[in-house]
């Protein structure tokens, strides 16, 4: 039987196909509303705002691929932000900054390990566990920094905000590194384990895949990526706010789902979620450029997201009807 390139084939084989269409579409609309969008300065100022969500979406993508979900990532972002803003301070030395960056990454991995312990070893439901720990982490951030304030040195902040090696935004290099790591990891044995556990955990266990370890690992990775996102957003804003991560959790999940990963696990990758995160951020841009009444912003944004999420389903429904 000859293989034809059909819609079904594309959707099944290349889960990032649909997110690519959405990305191109949103870039086109954005370009129409903001013709200088691809200029070096504008591009950089956009990408540095998108990067924290991109990092968070990559971590979330790994968790969803492995058959879990992590609702506590926003809390981790807040913890990292408050640690950096209170411990480094506006007049801190660069050495102190890097020292606390390292501590932040460890804190993120630890927060993920706590989730992983509950879920993989105590066999608790991922959604309930991370929902509970999300309050734990958000509460901890508020404990560290009850009122917005503090910050990191402006030099370091500027390093993040203005670095454009070879004229390209820093974020592009980060994305390239993330994709390279993913291409490597997904072709190692650990990558296969990830898909196996997310696809059908019982079958993976019967095949002697270390299921518990893989499940534990995805939350550590997610916590680590959330810490990276927290560092990025702190460098972007330069100041501390314990509620900075609160909104990011749902955005990260939305980005992954727009990115074509299956909510049930085992299908997808990282490229799609990165595109999903960019698309989601562009939608935000489009709304502000379109001069929509601020009171309507949430409604309009949510409507666009719902339509984007529903589109593949609607297309499939129409195809079924026609068959």
């Amino acid at each position: 039987m000859k293989k034809r390139v059909t819609w079904d084939f594309l959707m099944a084989r290349y889960p990032a196909f649909f997110p690519l269409i959405l990305l191109v579409l949103s870039i086109a609309i954005n370009l129409f509303l903001q013709p200088n969008m691809l200029d070096r300065e504008t591009l950089n100022s956009n990408m540095r705002v998108f990067l924290p969500l991109i990092l968070l979406a990559v971590g979330q993508a790994i968790v969803l691929l492995g058959g879990g979900i992590d609702i506590s990532v926003g809390g981790v972002v807040s913890i990292v932000n408050t640690i950096l803003a209170t411990r480094v301070g506006l007049d801190g030395s660069p050495e102190k900054m890097w020292q606390f960056v390292l501590i932040s990454l460890l804190a993120g991995a630890l927060a993920g390990a706590i989730n992983g312990f509950f879920i993989a070893y105590l066999r608790l439901q991922p959604i309930i566990t991370t929902y509970a720990t999300s309050f734990l982490y958000a509460g901890l951030a508020l404990f560290i920094l009850p009122n917005p304030g503090g910050g990191i040195p402006a030099d370091i902040s500027n390093l993040y905000r203005t670095s454009t090696p070879l004229g390209l935004p820093l974020a592009f290099y980060v994305i390239a590194i993330l994709l390279l790591i993913w291409v490597y990891v997904s072709s190692t044995r650990y990558g296969k384990y990830l898909f196996a556990v997310g696809g059908k955990a019982e079958a993976a266990y019967e095949t002697a895949v270390p299921v518990t370890l893989v499940q534990f690992g995805i939350y550590v990775i997610s916590g680590f990526m959330a810490a990276l996102a927290g560092i990025a957003i702190t460098m972007l804003s330069g100041s501390g706010n314990a509620e900075i991560g609160g909104q990011m959790t749902l955005n990260s999940i939305t980005a992954v789902v727009i990115g074509g990963n299956a909510f049930s696990g085992g299908i997808g990758g990282v490229a799609g979620p990165i595109m999903g995160a960019v698309t989601l951020s562009l939608i935000q841009n489009i709304i502000s450029f379109a001069r929509i009444n601020t009171w309507w912003e949430t409604l309009v944004k949510a409507t666009i997201i719902v339509v984007a999420l529903a589109a593949p389903g609607v297309i499939n429904l129409i195809r079924r009807r026609r068959a």
Binding site: T188, R189, K192, E206
Partner: protein, 502 residues
């Protein structure tokens, strides 16, 4: 080097249910041991204990006469024991090659999986069953897209790829067709030559006598007999399994269906897999549908149930009906007993009562008259001889045969006029099968019409008035009366009557 594994007096409990109370088994190299028992007798539990999927509560495992502890699938694998599971251990989203090599992937110098190597080696493994595939099977195909028999073959190849000294085949032939079983048996012969041991778990007597050297019979979690195949016959073996004799024969009395009116008339039915099927069925007839697996039999039943879009005409009592949804078919008194009871037939974690009443709740009004529903379910359970602790128990507590009775029962409670059966006796023990046959005969005598697809040729020959043999989407042959023999059925299944166009 001769190796051996002995299972001594093992006990396994799941909660309050004792799955094994005194399990014994002896296997050594160059032997095929048939592990036999009715459903729920503990065969699957025994294989799971040996494979380390479940940990035993008592008793001993001896590897080469030394006690061993098999605590996980990993440790079983390290001891050279591989299992072909009944509930498939394949990851549907992953490809054939990835599944076969999972946890044992050959690596490159960079620590990545060597995709070329696994592809080449998978091609070699696939060639073991070359010629029996119905699709263009390729190492890069996702497992989810394969038909059940090919999934089962991948499962077999995955186990044998471990190069174990002992292979447990847990109902591995249940979804294979005749040629695939033949090929598997040739391979088992080779493995035996090469010094492997095979534990063969099956319900099919004929296969057991063809392939096994020794037998071991389980009944209610106890090993009740073991010995050499050549010292025992089919009747004695069945007797060991079920304590009482007399179940294995089934014949249907002469019917007077010829005088009955035409109930169902189908003309030029076409779907993705059916290419123009026409036939008529009289009221009260039991018509078999035969042929190799996956020739379109399932589509035929599903389209009559409104679950698959089709072209062509379907007349019920002369009235043309085109069901677009199972709901419409149900209203007209059509019922479908699906083949995959775990996926399509039952809500395993819900109670027997809920499962039995699921299609019928509407007739109990609002608010539901629970008392009456319970009484009706009670009655249905009794008439099916359902062995259960109570209506409130979850279906998952039942053995395979009893669970299948619930699937049938839930449709019989709607008092259907046309029953579509999709391989209902798959994985059901002989005792329950016998009850099943009696029930089908009785239903026909009550005037119900039955279309009965089965992968077991004996059933079709022994039970049906006529058998329509489907091959490659069309009805190749119709067998009835004197022409309805096993030989003719197999010949027609293979498509030989028209020059073997396989």
């Amino acid at each position: 080097m001769a190796k051996s594994l002995s299972v001594r007096n093992i006990i396994k409990r799941y909660g309050g249910v004792v799955a094994l109370s005194d399990g014994n088994l002896d296997v050594r190299t160059k032997e095929v041991v048939a592990l036999i028992g009715a459903n729920g007798s503990g065969k699957s539990t025994m294989s799971k204990v040996i494979n380390g999927v479940v940990v035993l509560d008592g008793g001993q495992l001896l590897l080469d006469d030394k006690p061993v502890h098999i605590s996980s699938p990993q440790s079983a694998k390290n001891m050279g024991i591989a299992t072909v599971f009944q509930e498939l251990s394949l990851i549907p989203q992953m490809t054939v090659a990835e599944n076969i090599w999972l946890t044992r992937e050959p690596m490159t110098a960079f620590g990545t999986v060597n995709r070329k190597a696994i592809k080449d080696k998978t091609e070699q493994l696939l060639s073991l069953f070359r010629g029996t595939y119905k699709t263009d099977l390729h190492p890069d195909d996702p497992v989810a897209s394969l038909p059940p028999d090919e999934k089962q073959i991948i499962e077999i190849l995955k186990a044998i790829n471990l190069d174990p000294w002992m292979v447990i085949l847990d109902e591995a032939t249940a979804s294979l067709d005749g040629r695939q079983v033949q090929r598997l048996f040739e391979l088992i012969g080779d493995w035996k030559e090469a010094g492997k041991a095979v534990v063969f778990v099956s319900h099919r007597m004929e296969e057991i006598f063809r392939i096994a050297d020794k037998y071991s019979v389980l009944r209610n979690g106890k090993t009740v007999g073991a010995g050499k195949m050549k010292d025992i016959n089919e009747k004695e073996l069945v007797k060991l399994m079920i304590e009482k004799e007399s179940v294995f024969t089934f014949t249907r009395g002469e019917t007077k269906a010829n005088e009955k009116p035409i109930y169902l008339e189908i003309k030029d039915l076409r779907t993705d897999t059916l290419h123009g099927v026409s036939f008529r069925v009289r009221e009260g007839e039991l018509v078999g549908i035969g042929g190799l697996r996956g020739q379109g039999q399932r589509d035929l039943l599903l389209s009559l149930f409104g679950d698959v879009p089709y072209s062509g005409t379907v007349k019920i009592f002369g009235n043309e009906s085109k069901f677009k949804h199972p709901r419409e078919a149900m209203k007209k008194g059509v019922a479908l007993v699906p083949g995959d009871r775990a996926r399509e037939g039952l809500l395993y974690i819900r109670s027997i009562l809920e499962n039995l009443q699921l299609p019928s709740w509407a007739q109990y009004g609002f608010p539901l008259r629970i008392g009456k529903a319970k009484k009706d379910a009670e009655q249905a359970g009794a008439s099916l001889n359902l062995k259960m602790a109570g209506l409130g128990e979850p279906v998952s507590s039942l053995s395979g045969g009893n669970a299948q009775k619930v699937v049938l029962g839930k449709w019989l409670m709607r008092k259907p006029r046309l029953l579509l059966l999709d391989d209902p006796t798959k994985g059901v023990d002989v005792g329950t099968k016998a009850e099943f046959y009696a029930l089908l005969t009785q239903l026909c005598n009550e005037g119900k019409t039955i279309l009965f697809y089965s992968s077991t040729d004996e059933e079709l020959v022994g039970l049906c008035d006529r058998v329509l043999v489907v091959h490659d989407g069309i009805i190749r042959t119709e067998l009835s009366g004197a022409s309805l023999t096993k030989e003719n059925l197999i010949a027609a299944s293979l498509g030989t009557s028209k020059g073997g166009a396989l």
